[in-house]
């Protein structure tokens, strides 16, 4: 996939940081206001998808290769499971909020509510990496109807 025009590239260069920051904000303040890991993760994935669309696949894969996204995806899933197992180990209950029970912080502050922000971060990372991977799969490989009516998968570069 090749990039787009210079107008799109310039706008993307300015806007991508703000989209990324907004995603982080939505994830980190998920326990204080509307939002959370899923919405923030989708927004972060949006910023990388914008990069891919504007600058092309090669530029975006230098920033976040699909291998790295794969590892992030798995690591975030393991982090979420680890929070659950820590709760099981310390409180005897799966997903027990052990941080809040041991060290209760002041409410309505950023560092409050124990494991909930950590879970939000894990889910946000997971969703961002997963959606970026789905987009990479869908944009690199395309299903093309061949002349004999069969579907076949081709890579984008071979087609163009």
């Amino acid at each position: 996939m090749k990039g787009m025009t210079v107008i799109v590239k310039t706008v993307t260069r300015w806007v991508k940081v703000f989209i990324f920051l907004y995603g982080i904000y939505i994830i980190v303040t998920g326990h204080l206001g509307p939002g959370g890991g899923f919405a923030g993760g989708v927004i972060i994935a949006c910023s990388y998808i914008l990069l891919t669309l504007a600058y092309g696949k090669d530029f975006a894969s230098r920033r976040l290769s699909s291998q790295t996204a794969h590892r992030l995806d798995s690591a975030a899933a393991m982090l979420f499971l680890a929070i659950a197992l820590f709760g099981l180990g310390s409180g005897g209950i799966f997903f027990s909020n052990f941080l809040q029970k041991r060290y209760p912080m002041e409410e309505f502050t950023l560092f409050s509510s124990g494991t909930i922000p950590i879970s939000n971060i894990a889910i946000g990372l997971k969703v961002a990496a997963s959606l970026f991977l789905i987009f990479t799969i869908l944009s690199v490989f395309r299903i093309v109807l061949a002349a004999d009516g069969k579907r076949k998968f081709v890579q984008e570069e071979e087609e163009e």
């Binding site: 959370g36 998808i49 509510s113 081709v154």
Partner: protein
């Protein structure tokens, strides 16, 4: 004018958009009307005072539109046959009428809009969550508190489903493309 009127207008818009998405011949216009339905649904969530859901819906809708437009652009128009199957039409009409009658009776037995059932049933778990959620979890957002503390096991299941979906899509698409490339070499 109550909130129900706005919701009814939105619902009519959603149904019309969904019908257009199903019936239109052009794949791209189908995708775009699907996007209109999604954004209308997020506005409906805002009317129902569910900003969490509205944010998720808007973000997912944007990404989904990009996915679908990217996947369908430049694709051939798939024409319908133009032939109407009368037996199928009659069955669809009968099923729709039955569904309408059932839904009419089901909605008649429900409580009025805006009066939740937890106001009457004091022993409902939602009341306990709303009363003790802040003290027990320390989270100001009760939706997040329920999703990631009280019902975190469900969220783990959701994350597992997403993980399995990614692995499945990667395995299917990548495997086919590799075998194709191997044949060419």
């Amino acid at each position: 004018m109550g909130i129900e009127v706005y919701l009814l207008i939105l619902l009519v818009f959603l149904i019309v958009g969904a019908l257009v998405a199903v019936e239109t011949r052009n794949l791209l216009s189908s995708v775009i009307s699907l996007g209109a339905v999604g954004f209308g649904l997020s506005i409906a969530f805002l009317f129902l005072r569910a900003p969490d859901l509205a944010i998720v819906k808007i973000a997912v809708e944007v990404v989904l539109l990009i996915f679908l437009i990217r996947a369908t652009i430049g694709r051939d128009v798939i024409p319908g046959t133009g032939h109407i199957h009368w037996a199928g039409l009659v069955i669809i009409c009968l099923l729709s009428a039955g569904l309408f009658v059932f839904a009419y009776h089901a909605f008649g037995s429900m409580k009025a809009f805006g009066s939740p059932i937890i106001a009457d049933v004091q022993s409902a778990p939602s009341n306990k969550y709303l009363a003790e959620g802040l003290g027990q979890t320390g989270s100001a957002n009760i939706v997040t508190a329920i999703l990631l503390d009280y019902r975190a096991y469900d969220t783990l299941g959701e994350a597992t489903v997403l993980f399995a979906a990614i692995i499945g899509a990667l395995a299917v698409l990548r495997g086919t493309a590799r075998s194709k490339r191997g044949k060419q070499k």
